[in-house]
Amino acid sequence: MSELEEKDPVVNSSLARPMVIASVLLMVSLAWALWDEAYATRPWKSYQSRFVKLYSSYLKTARPSAEDAEKKIRASSEYLRLDKEMQAAEKSVLAKVTEIDREVNQVLVPQSLALNEPFQEVRSSIGALTYQIEVASSEKAKQSLRAEIEEIKKDKVTVKLPNPDGSMKKVEYTFPQMDKDLLDWKAKKAALLLQRVELMKPASELRARRDKYLSDRIAEVSNETLAGVERKLAAFSPGIRQIHVKDVDLVDRCESCHLGTREPVVLTKAAMGGEAMFTSHPNKDLLKTHDPEKFGCTPCHGGNGVATSSVDKGHGRHKYWLWPMHHKENVEAGCQQCHSGEVVTEMGDTLNAGRELFRLRGCMACHRYEGFDKEPEDLTGVNQQMRQLEQQKAEWDREAGFTIQKADKSKDNAEAQRLYARADDLKVKMSGLDAKIEQLDIRSRSLIREIKKVGPSLKEVRSKLKKEWIPVWVKDPNHWRPGTKMPVFRLDDEEVQAISAFIWQAGVNGKVPPQPQGDAERGKEAFETRGCMACHSMGEGSAKQGGTFAANLSREGEKANYEYLVRWVHEPRERTLPYCPYEKKDLTEEDYKRNGAPFVFDLEHTRCPNDGHELQVQQMTPMPSLRLSIEEARDIATYLMTRKQANASLPAAPYLDDPKLKARGQFLVRNYGCAGCHEISGLEEEQRIGTELTREGSKPIERLDFALLGHDAAKEGWYNHKGFFEHKLKDPSVYDKGKEKENKLERLKMPNFNLAKNEIDALATLLIGSVEPNIPARYQFKPTDQRQDIIEGWWVVRKYNCMGCHQVHVGQTTVFNTLTRYQDPDWKDQRPPSLIGEGARVDPAWLMRFLNNPAQEEKDLNRNGVRQYLKARMPTFHFSDGELRKLVRFFEAMSSQAQPYIAQKLDPLTEQERTMARQLFSSEGAPCLKCHATGDPNHDKRATAPNFTLAKERLKPGWTKRWMIDPAMMAPGTAMPSGLFQRDGGRFIFAGPTPASFQGYQKDHADLLVRYMFQFTQEELSRLRASAGAGAGR
């Protein structure tokens, strides 16, 4: 053993080295802990300092230009004039104002202050004694205390009051004197200050005007604001910036990093050195209606508003945060939570597109979604209510009978009277029920009319289609007609055959009369100008033109039967056989004959001959009638029959008539949910086959079946709602991948819609936004005023594609704006009118009549009611009462018109005024009749503007006047000339030469014309025609 080992290691070994190392490690970990606490878990600190740096340097570049602009304005003569006036006004009252200020500040205020203290002292002692009086028990004690107070009041106090020159004077005061002086001085001071304000008034008004002149002329931010921002930045102290909305317990600290969001200066990415996180909110208008102080950030954007320790956590991109921030392409998902009942949300274009796809592509036919396709549900609800009310009525009826019986038998007179009164009450209540039932009945009839299907009825395939076309189409509709609404089901040949056979065999045998051929040339012209193309498109590939609302008709000739097509073009709603929902069958002529009724069914004859129930008498298509003559319908149908590909041929399909396939086909049709979109015999009552999607976005992720892809999704980063929806929409069978499902029926049924990327984004946005709202109901957009009318109206406007022809809101393009033909200047005036401001323009009662019958005529339906010069025709939609009401209310609300409409009363015209107006109307200077129709067929041939004789029924007088004065402002590009009137003092006078009779006329010329038009009579029309004719003759 060596020496060293001999030594006792417990006593002699040194721990110095491990101790030093451990201590150093401890210090290092301490430093690490401090750094972690101060910086690593508070990344916003470095963001804040970077923001301050970037913002300051941006301001340095932005400020000079703003300063220059402001300097220029300050140097402008107008500003200098205003400034000089202001200075002069101030100067003129300067002496008086100084005098007042001196009096107030050097005399009244110091004196009051000096006197106030001794006064307060005495008053307090009196107050204490008064309290003692109030609580004293004996009258004697009270008396002595009162005497004491009197004593105090008489006592004299010496007060030192300051003189204006600074010296003091001694004054002797009793309490009442002090009181009086103080009040006097106060009154005097108030009077003087009032006087001062009066004196300064002109000067301050001028100052305000000068400042307004400046602020009006600075486009973005004033120099002052910039200086304010700079000051703020100089004094910037790092810290959490949070929005706390107390009543919903919301804390959002997003602005701790996103500091530029609400800056008054618009900060772009480029301005902030390419850092997108510091930019201002891109939509300031949105923030105006959704003030962040009230709404916070995360209710709309998602994310974890309280988290500040890392970007991922703050944005909620964390496995355990259930409400991650929406990605850029889905940012509008946040709107849906509160705007869930809407089909059109302002500023929500992606979301609106998603909703439109959800409707148009038929998602709603398989998936229930609150608000979409709700008519069938409403109908069930209404029918149920009706049944309940009828039951109630029967009960009351019986009870009334019993009560009367009891009353008849009762011995007591008073008792009998009581019972009779009760029976009477019940009868009155029953009549109230009758009224309710009547209303429900009307509503139910409305609803039957409102129910529409996404796809065409398959009941009439036998008369409508070429038989062999069915299997070709069922197999792959998107191949036959690229971009069609109908999705591709993953069917094998056996299934295609069975389904086609069932559809063919389930068709009804309605009669379609034979039709002679029309003229394809004329048909083409009509197809392109009547308005068909607002919904339908024609041509394939890049040659495609027209709307996407309805089918592309480029290959119509390959599939359709001519006779049926004529009938369809003429009146698409016409059925060959009506359907009775009560008996669940299509009625035939037999049913009518058996009951001795004529075989007539239309919107006036809607009752079932067998049992009196309401029938479905219309095709459930949104396609309207263009009120074409039968000849024109034949022309269009003939044209459409020529639309086919060269060498088009269809393989023979003898199996379509094989009755053995029918049962199998029906089973498959039911399995794939075909009846969701199509009306099919025997399957009218089918329910939706898909899952409800109203709250799909807040379904727990575990309940979304990623099947075997869950692990890949987690690895690739799409194990979330967005990823699930996007993959499903892109390839609906994606979650069957790798699954062993031998039975085909077990496989996912959702067909492939061949959606484009932007369509998937739009639909995913809708679905991501479809969440259980986690904010209180009052934050949700459920208005009770006119805005509700707008919400409801949009559903109807979208349902019938009004926007294919009309501009309904600012910034919208119609299909007509995109058609090549309508780019020609000659054809521009042929576009259907814009409906912006329609509610302010027309009388709501007239609008209701017009929408109901756009021909404005009972017999000659083959025309436009208002703009007869337009080739495009306002179709008849056969709106239900409910839809009419919603539409009229919608337009009124869009133009902020008061409900109900009360027509403005106009002063009656004197005979002289009438003559004057007539002369003006037909004068050379105001060629109103050159364009406006009058109802005279000869004249109207050349007319290019609405019939003004309808004005008194159709228009609102206030709008008419505004229109005549400046039409270009309301409808840029209108043919109606502007500048017809010019302002002359408080009135408008005609700008051109006026007839001699206007000499000395002091009233408003525009008013005169309005009154003339709104008090127009038939006699006046002939007089006007005569004078206009004379004018034209000259």
Binding site: D8, V10, L25, L26, S29, A33, K319, P700, E702
Partner: protein
Amino acid sequence: MDLHQLWTILSTPDNVPIVLLLFVIPFYTWYGLRQSFANDRLIAQLEKDPVMAKTHHRKTQPWRPGWAREVHVWPYLLRIEFLAAIILTVILMVWSITLNAPLEEPANPTLTMNPSKAPWYFLGLQEMLVYFDPWMAGVVFPSLIIVGLMVIPYIDENPLGNGYYTYKQRKFAIWTFLFGFIALWVSMIVIGTLIRGPGWMWFWPGMTWDHNRLTFDVNRDLPDIFGIKNRIGKILFGGIVVGIYCVAAWIGVHMAIVRDAFGKKILARMSLLQYATMQLMLILMLSLPVKMILRLVFRIKYVWVTPWFNI
């Protein structure tokens, strides 16, 4: 081999202590035993030396001539403890900086997470639920564990081994501890943490925790295997089987104690109550691995089925 899955499980902050456990426990067991064996050798050497025998002496750093027979706590012990305290502080600080508390999503009463696991220190109990009915695994056994720990000082009649490591003098106690703590308690925690996946199914390390996984497993009661249908028969049969087990375990434990002279000596010092208590606890402790084997290998659900309890 799904390394992604393995990493996910091992790196979850909640599972880090278990991973540490996997290394730390074998190490310290080995370390302690090494010291014990060294001491045992020393004891044997000292016992041979009549001068040194029967005297108090240091056991960890054996005394040599010229060394102090005893050393003071301060500074010789406290400085080491202080060093240990510093190192532990460093470990705790680094741990708390690098691993955050494993908070998860808000609880949803309509959706139970899968797998749904207790905190790590309770996972052994949760794993026990697989083998016994909830009354046994959740109430009886946990209580017995606590009672068993409490009675140890009262049944331990071995006066040796205080204040130094030794294997020879405390063989029985060490084996009982190794079996009860490491083989049962720790390994069940490890199984519960690392092995049990969705559906509380058995996933070997490296297997993907697949929510769609399906396994076919029929667990039957022992009486059913023997075709006993009526209730009385089941109760009797189960009672007999459990009785046989108890007798066998009793004999086994007894044999283990009386294997050597030292054990016999200790046994002789025990009262009947002490002996009976010890046997009861050990029989119950042994029943756990027996039942685990029955369940995992032979797919037997219960041995003794009665209307009141199941074993």
